[in-house]
Amino acid sequence: MDERLQYEQLIGGKLQSLPVPDMQDAIWARVKAQLDIDLPTDDGDGGSSPQSPSGPGIIGWGLSVVIIALITGFFIFKNKPKTKDTTNPATTTEQIISPSVQNNGPPLPRDNTIKGTTVPVQTNQNTPVPGVMRDSVAQQNLTAVDPVSRDSVQNSVQNNFPPPLATVPVPKPDTSLQVKKGKGMKGLNDSDYRIVPKKN
């Protein structure tokens, strides 16, 4: 039984010379990929391509430069209008007041618009604070501690909403404006300061 028959020897010889498919590159790529995981090397020939210094380096640097340029451009664009506003303090003050005036009613004094920010807190007629407490139990608890909480809330609101005028940046003193300001009160012309010698 252990003796190979003649036809088996013939078959064995034929199967030794099977045509080999050309799959070297594909199989080596698989072997190399597995070796990079199991047997990483630092000889420069292996390793995954992201670790090589040339390709990803250029892409990485390019991307970082573009990102930095975009961020810088964004901040420059965003800060540009603010710098313009600070150079013209008179118009800035008017712009802050104007939104409260833009209802069709009569213009409100500046003090009223500031107090208007505390109006939602001053309502102690069992009206819920919008978006904070809506159920009745919570509302009752709110009214029970109303005198204390109102003050604290009002203080906190006043702390959270500083007066608009305080937020207006104080312009740096301009020497040219100071010269004009030193001339005197409004409504007076230069001719009013003219010294005319008294005639006897």
């Binding site: 039984m1 028959l5 078959i11 199967l15 099977l18 080999v20 799959m23 594909a26 072997v31 292996g46």
Partner: protein, 181 residues
Amino acid sequence: MVAVEVNIQEMLDGSLANKRKAQEALFRHFYGFAMSIALRYSRDEMDAADIVSHAFIKIFKSIHSFDSSKGSLHAWIKKIVVNEGLDHIKSRTRFSENVELETVPEPQINNSVIEQMGADEIMEIVKKLPPATHAVFVLYAVEGYNHREIAEKMNISEGTSKWHLSEARKFLQEQLSMIYN
């Protein structure tokens, strides 16, 4: 011949040092040899590619265990590829242990018929065998292992190995007679 041996030694040393260039050179040098073995244990080229890739990963991982005083590099690589081929076949089937055979009648096969056939044609017939029978036939007829060695390699009894060989012979006789009659 001496230059080739020097190159193989360089590839071997480089592979021991985990140099990719040397490993690639060794792979490309033995690719045809390994692929021709793998094809005998596979159903198609993709199966053979799996066997070769797994075999070479094992080769590079365990290349430090190669001892040239115990055998040639060819024999060592062949052993790894054959074992990988058997593992591949085992993954497709469960080897039967409940069949035993001591003697089989020899098939009547005309040698001239086989001589006229190409390797591809013969391999197409062998691939039609059940996986375990396929493995036993290739190990016996092509690689030259005896039943005791096959039994050890496939973790089966010698009687089972003989039964698979008998089944392979009967099947081949039928197929060859169908083609040329």
